[in-house]
């Protein structure tokens, strides 16, 4: 804390007084510290001292414990296999996917943290992807999980914090329908003769083509920054880009793992763009994180420690194999392990939206 933040500091202390009058009042520590703070020019020291004396002052984790629920945002646009479209089950409307399984893990760990007496219920807010950031900053969510990486330039709005990865080594991939597009890119790789430069091959190979990416995602950030010679379409969702016929779309960019799933299970007319030897072609590397706000320091440590443990026990790897490699029906998984969500929070008459040319292109 510094002198300039004394106003914030005093508000924080007042808030703590409001929540914990008995504890502080009985000990008589707070009046003393406040008086001290008036004499001290920087009351940050006081705040830190109060925190030190009483570390259980109300914070985001204790708020979750006392409410018995954690508010988690998740994208309403399907990012299969991370989040599948909502389906109806014997239990009502449910969503499922790798991200949903992770949310269950977080909720279970929170239950343990909160004493295990009452389960912490994850309250899912299905929201348009680009609105997740806003809802997070406005304090409507405790966190969001939406196959979202923070290591792409421009992907981290100010005030948000990204956890250590729960999904490693993904990246932006591309799908096409016309084999000639693949040949154009392969020709560029051949020219490089053993000295691969993916960015150069993609820039030259896709030059003049129509490329689509979803609004607000890292793939649209990548395209805006690196693919200056393409006609860039920004779409409201991945299904919207697949459905758009006019203008004709040559290439769709999205997360490689998502494109791998949908070309195998949903849109067999589209094919992954690969390297010349058939290996996966990733345009950049991306790790997916859980997102919360900068101020939630305790929640941040909680998430990082949990994800580290899930990683070292192999749980994250098992989740990855379960959703990306196993043969399964999402509907059945939704029925047995899906989570409900607040229907009232979902945008009215959700549909997958449309595509439009990027501004200035």
């Amino acid at each position: 804390m510094i002198v300039g933040k004394s106003g914030i500091c005093i508000r924080s202390i007042m808030r703590m007084l409001q929540h914990c009058p008995k504890e502080y009042g009985s000990q008589g520590i707070v009046p003393f510290l406040i008086a001290l703070g008036i004499f001290l020019q920087g009351c940050g020291l006081v705040f830190d001292a109060v925190e030190w004396v009483h570390p259980l002052a109300r914070h985001e984790l204790s708020a979750i414990c006392s409410k018995g629920q954690v508010r988690v945002g998740i994208s309403v646009e399907p990012f299969r296999p991370f989040v599948f479209p909502a389906v109806y089950t014997d239990e009502g409307v449910r969503v499922t996917g790798l991200d949903v399984e992770l949310i269950r893990e977080v909720a279970d760990a929170l239950t343990t943290y909160c004493g295990g007496q009452t389960p912490i219920v994850p309250t899912l807010h299905l929201t348009r992807f680009h609105d997740l950031f806003l809802e997070m900053i406005e304090g409507k969510l405790d966190m969001f999980v939406s196959s979202n990486g923070g290591n792409i330039p421009g992907a981290r709005p100010a005030g948000l914090w990204y956890s250590i990865p729960y999904f490693h080594n993904d990246g932006i991939g591309a799908i096409i329908q016309n084999p000639e597009v693949a040949e154009r890119v392969r020709a560029q790789f051949r020219k490089q003769a053993g000295n691969p430069d993916t960015l150069a091959a993609i820039q030259a190979g896709l030059s003049g083509l129509t490329v689509a990416a979803q609004k607000g995602t890292t793939s649209s950030l990548y395209a805006e920054a690196n693919l200056l010679n393409v006609r860039l379409l920004i779409c409201d969702s991945l299904p919207a880009s697949v459905e758009t016929k006019d203008p004709h779309i040559d290439v769709i960019l999205s997360k490689h793992s998502i494109l791998d799933y949908v070309t195998n299970h949903v849109w067999p007319d589209w094919h992954l763009l690969t390297r010349n030897d058939g290996a996966p072609l990733l345009l950049t590397q991306e790790n997916f994180s859980v997102v919360t706000v900068e101020e939630n320091r305790r929640l941040q440590w909680f998430l990082n420690n949990l994800l580290y443990r899930l990683d070292e026990t192999g749980r994250l790897e098992r989740m990855r194999r379960r959703w990306l490699e196993e043969d399964y029906a999402p509907t059945r998984r939704a029925a047995t392990e899906g989570l409900p969500f607040e229907v009232s929070k979902v945008p009215d008459h959700y549909d997958q939206g449309q595509c439009r040319f990027a501004a200035g292109r």
Partner: protein, 248 residues
């Protein structure tokens, strides 16, 4: 003389009182059995309406399908009239009072299920949504049972949803029904010394059901469950209703 008159009157009086007490006891029983039949019919009609609209519900090209709770309700009311000649909305005078009390609750529960599913139904670009007669029926029965002392449940011998597992009574009955020709009425029985009615209404596979429940047996259907290898007309399961007499 007076004594002789009394001797003559007494047996008549005893007979009259006995007969009338039997009638008084039987009247609510008939009413309850009748109500159970109507409840099963109404739930089945709801399932039928969902099945009839399946192509619309699963059409990925359309966003707002227009299959609203009100549209659903109207179709249910029309079909209910067709099957029973009873107009639930405007003239339910033919119904026993218990049915007049319970049928609107089931209809409202069914509408709520359709309302809850609007988000799923109206997704554009998504084909199969698993809003099918079975999932509709499970939720409608549960919602109704939660707000009533009458319990309704869908059940079958090999349930996909374990919550639909039959109890011993239902299992025994389902096994018997499976070996007999199809019937279109409920099987009713008074149990627990006549204090509770159990009514089981069989459901048989139609051609539409076989897309998921037919051949090839064991191969996963679109929702990820192994097909049962069923044939048209075979027993699919039943609607099981339990109505206690004394908890009204």
């Amino acid at each position: 003389m007076k004594f002789r008159v009394l001797l003559l009157i007494s047996p008549s009086l005893v007979f009259f009182l006995t007969w009338s007490s039997i009638s008084w006891a039987q009247a609510p029983r008939e009413e309850i059995e009748n109500t159970a039949q109507h409840l099963a019919t109404l739930l089945n009609v709801g399932r039928l309406i969902v099945q009839r609209n399946q192509a619309l519900i699963n059409d990925p090209r359309i966003g707002n399908k227009g299959f609203t709770p009100e549209v659903f309700e109207q179709q249910v009311l029309d079909e209910f009239i067709r099957e029973t000649h009873i107009d639930l909305k405007h003239d339910s005078s033919q119904l026993p009072s218990l049915a007049k009390e319970l049928l609107p609750v089931l209809l409202e529960s069914s509408k709520e299920v359709v309302a809850d599913a609007q988000l799923v139904i109206n997704q554009r670009g998504i084909g199969y949504k698993n809003f099918v007669p079975a999932t509709f029926g499970s939720q409608a029965a549960r919602k109704f049972s939660n707000r009533s002392y009458v319990k309704i449940k869908q059940t079958t011998l090999n349930p996909r949803n374990l919550k639909n597992t039959p109890d011993a009574y239902e299992e025994n009955l389902l096994k018997r029904l499976a070996t007999k020709p199809a019937i279109d009425t409920s099987i009713t029985e008074w149990i627990d010394n006549g204090t509770t009615l159990r009514a089981v209404t069989p459901i048989y596979y139609s051609q539409d059901c076989l897309v998921c429940h037919g051949d090839p047996k064991g191969i996963l259907d679109i929702s990820g469950y192994p097909r049962e290898g069923a044939k048209e007309g075979e027993l699919a399961g039943a609607i099981s209703i339990r109505i206690p007499v004394n908890k009204r």
